[in-house]
Amino acid sequence: MHFALPPRKTSQPPPYLPRASRPPGLRRTRFKLIALAGLALFALIFLVKLSTSGRNAAPTSRAPRGNPPVVLVTVLDEARYSKTYLETVNENRIKYAEKHGYKTLFARVGDYELNGSPGSWTTVVAARDALTKYPDCRYVWYLDASSFVMNPALKVEEHVMQPSRLDELMKKDLPVVPPDSIIKTFSHLKGQDVDLVLTQDKEALSAGSFIVRNGEWARFFLETWFAPIYRSYNFEKVEAHALEHIVQWHPTILSRMAVIDQRIINAYNKGVRGEEYKDGDFVVRFPDCAAAGVQACEIESQSFVQAWRRAFASS
């Protein structure tokens, strides 16, 4: 039978016996007590910090409930469009909105105090007003008066604004202002981060149809766009150029913006300046009719008006 070797004895034995057990001050019960006391102390500190930090914490903005999901905003400029045409536009918006439970907001030039700046700035204020009037809406869709919703079956939140859909739709690393702006759309933007959706035609960023998601950013964006400093600047194309300006100069705006294909929300009736409307597209727009004269839009849109009436009746 073998036993392990006995431990080697030191040649200088300590004058005291080594302690075999734990020090008597640290009994099991006391250990528990100490642990409990420490825990209580930490809990106390935590609670105190919680109560003080809660007071100064930044408020989390309330997520809109989505009632209504979309507000359709249209500015009816009676100086540029005929009365009958505007009634058709009105009917088109209301019918589409009723179909999906959306709301509409029609603004007239002069409804808002512009302090002498051109009436087309009403676009921006009207969109801002929609946020105020429908604080629970999810999206605000501004669609100018020279356009019609052609396909009533499509819903904004599914056809355009769904994040997964936006991931497919948005054009990344695209010069913001065609053809060759050095400022390009963000290449790493995600669909869920997009707050502003708009389109480009062949010449410029189009401000005739854009969708804004309700939130603090939307207020910031619209108020900045509407800033008196831009209104007084005499941009050639007024609010459209102001938009191009802020988009290119302010990355906090660019980083929330997605440029999507024109035919999704902004197909043109003619393919000269942009992409041409094809049957089944969501929207048709007549980009030049308002400038051509008061009656021009009515004439230009006749065939499309019959088409959307048919489509709305059949659906």
């Binding site: 004058p15 005291y16 910090k49 003080t52 808002y112 105090e113 800033a227 100069w249 705006i253």
Partner: protein, 641 residues
């Protein structure tokens, strides 16, 4: 007396001891002790002195010391043996035989030792043959007629002897002419020849487990011992060795304990001592520190322990709270002190660079301002970011000089991702009250300190709030949502509007947006002629025009973060809303506009000194306000400590 150093001069001296006279030849003695090492010329060799210190001028001391040393030698060699006169009253006729080589003049002398009466004082020696005691006793209690030597001498000799360690001297060389009579005593170290061997320790005999001495072979016995034994045992005692416990009273039983606890002065590092290094069984210095402390603690009373503990706690607290880095860690940690949540940005080197050489005063201003911020930051654990405001071509090219602070703020937001509040400070600022923390001064109760309705103080006559119908209720409210959490920009207004010499921004998306739109080329192109204060005017314009900015902006009363010296905003005289007051201990002074016709350095210097004065420690106050005053009253002199 005769001095003997290295045996240079060794006069013979004759002594009379008792009835016998003998001549003591020191040279001879030295010869016998020839093994002594000589260390250096002027060091009296202790061994020599032991023998020769007898030359104290008095006869009598010499033989005492001599005999003492003799006994010592004897002891060394046979210390396990019982001395006949130890422990028991000396028999009148006990003879003491000197070891060889120590006989005077070579004759083998036998002395009557009767007059070395050791009396009862030697009772303990049977128990412990410690030579120190032995010697001490022997010299001091010597009752010989010649023992009239002054005690100091004796003590001296005693010291010399006492420090002399136990030295086995090896075999002494026989003195020529003496009969080389070998000692009858065995040199064996064992007390029990032929027995178990090894050293016996007299003190441990009791515990050896054997109750009777083992007698095998021929026991070595002293004559006196035999006599004693015979006397006690009555003749037949030798056949039946008896064991008697040797507990002769209190001292007999406790002497070892008492004597071992006495201090020792054995500091000699003699070579022969090395043998025992670290192995002295009774040495106090052998016990490790921990063991010693434990011993002390064990002997301490409970009350004393508690007192010591309290003292220790106080000392520890003082260290922890005033000297250890723990304070800094506490103040910096984001969830305790929260110091890391604050970043101070200091715009230094204003206008420097190639455009402007700085003079001595500019450097001094910069140095003072920087040191002030650094000390403040070190005290409260904030972050300090010193930024270079020198004129840069980049900004000149883009027409955006003095919007650099916007860029610096953005850089700081990236650099300190965990910080919450960013405090911009111009160079011409001085923190007058470094004891105010930002948390206690402002941010713990932000809601209480700020005003969000600019109508409370509105030098720019901005119409507030917005009344446009298209704005929501929050934008139309004069105070935003009214909660402290929505405040992202905190600044103050001076007599002419916003002042950005000292302002706070909080990390938020809102702040990103503000810093983004603050500089805009369209605004600059239209306004650069009228905007004298550039970024300040731009912010005023943004605040005036845009509801989203107003909702998150709050103002602090100017004197909370941005007091002016009386030179600034001086058109309407002193304004309690604007100007610094040392009575109210304002937090910070901003020497705004001092570069336009005022003395920046002079103001900085004055405020620096004022700040030091206001924040003197109690000791400084005591010295300067009390002691100096008394000295002035008494002596008429002004004293500076």
């Amino acid at each position: 007396m005769s001095t003997i150093i290295n045996g240079q001069q060794l006069p013979g001296t004759s002594y009379s001891v008792g009835h016998k006279q003998f001549r003591f030849d020191a040279a001879k003695m030295l010869q016998t002790a020839s093994v002594l090492p000589t260390q250096s010329g002027d060091t009296p060799i202790s061994q020599v002195s032991r023998y020769t210190y007898s030359g104290t001028g008095r006869s009598g001391a010499a033989p005492t010391a001599l005999l003492d040393s003799v006994r010592h030698e004897y002891f060394v060699q046979n210390h396990h043996l019982e001395f006949p006169f130890y422990g028991s009253p000396l028999p009148e006729s006990s003879a003491f035989r000197l070891p060889r080589g120590l006989g005077a003049k070579g004759e083998q002398a036998t002395y009557n030792l009767a007059f070395f009466s050791f009396g009862g004082a030697t009772s303990s020696f049977s128990d412990r043959p410690a030579r120190h005691h032995h010697r001490r006793r022997s010299s001091s209690s010597s009752s010989s007629p010649a023992a009239a030597a002054p005690p100091s001498t004796l003590r001296l000799s005693d010291r010399h002897l006492g420090v002399q360690p136990h030295q086995p001297l090896g075999p002494l060389s026989p003195i020529p002419g003496t009969p080389n009579d070998p000692m009858s005593l065995s040199r064996s170290s064992s007390p029990i020849p032929g027995g178990g061997g090894g050293w016996a320790s007299p003190g441990l005999n009791l515990a050896s487990g054997r109750s009777s001495p083992k007698l095998s072979g021929t026991p070595v016995m002293w004559e006196s011992s035999r006599q004693k034994r015979g006397g006690v045992g009555g003749g037949g005692g030798a056949a039946y060795p008896s064991f008697t416990t040797r507990s002769q009273g209190f001292f007999g039983r406790h002497m070892r304990r008492l004597s071992s606890s006495l201090p020792r002065f054995s500091t000699s590092t003699h070579y022969a001592e090395k043998e025992k290094l670290g192995r002295g069984r009774w040495s106090v210095h052998n016990v490790p520190l921990l063991g010693r402390i434990r011993g002390i603690m064990a002997r301490m009373g409970r009350k004393m322990k508690i007192r010591l503990l309290i003292l220790l706690m106080i000392l520890l607290s003082i260290f922890v709270f005033y000297h250890s880095p723990l304070v800094t860690y506490w103040r910096r940690s984001p969830w305790l002190g929260g110091g890391k949540k604050f970043v101070i940005l200091l715009g230094a080197n204003v206008g420097g660079g190639v455009m402007d050489w700085k003079g001595a005063r500019e450097w001094a201003i910069e140095r003072d301002s920087l040191r002030n911020k650094k000390k403040y930051v070190a005290r409260w654990g904030y972050e300090l970011e010193i930024v270079d405001m020198s004129t840069k071509k980049r900004y000149a090219h883009e027409w955006r000089e003095s919007w650099e602070k916007v860029d610096f703020l953005r850089t700081a937001l990236r650099k300190y991702p965990n910080a919450e509040w960013f405090w911009w400070l111009d160079l011409n600022t001085f923190i007058m009250e470094p004891t105010y923390s930002l948390q206690a001064h402002i941010f713990d109760d932000l809601q209480k300190h700020v005003y969000r309705d600019i109508n409370e103080y509105n030098p720019l006559n901005i119409s507030h709030p917005f009344t446009d119908a298209y704005l929501d209720a929050e934008s139309q409210s004069p105070v935003g949502d009214g909660r402290a959490g929505s405040i992202n920009l905190v600044l103050s207004q001076d007599c002419s509007g916003f002042n950005l010499g000292s302002f706070f921004v909080r990390r938020s998306e809102w702040t990103d947006r503000l810093l983004d739109v603050w500089w805009d080329p369209v605004a600059y192109e239209q306004k650069h002629m009228e905007w004298a204060h550039k970024e300040q005017d731009a912010l005023e314009q943004l605040y005036t025009a845009q509801p989203w900015i107003r909702k998150h902006t709050a103002f602090l009363p100017q004197r909370m973060i941005n007091s002016f010296p009386s030179g600034a905003c001086a058109e309407n005289g002193n304004d309690t809303r604007i100007h610094y007051s040392d009575r109210d201990r304002d937090f910070l002074v901003n020497m705004a506009g001092c570069e336009w016709g005022r003395d920046c350095w002079g103001e900085m210097y004055n405020f620096r000194e004022l700040s030091y004065y206001l924040n003197r420690s109690w000791w400084e106050r005591f010295k300067e306000d009390f002691l100096a005053l008394i000295i002035f009253k008494v002596t008429g002199r002004r004293v500076k400590f």
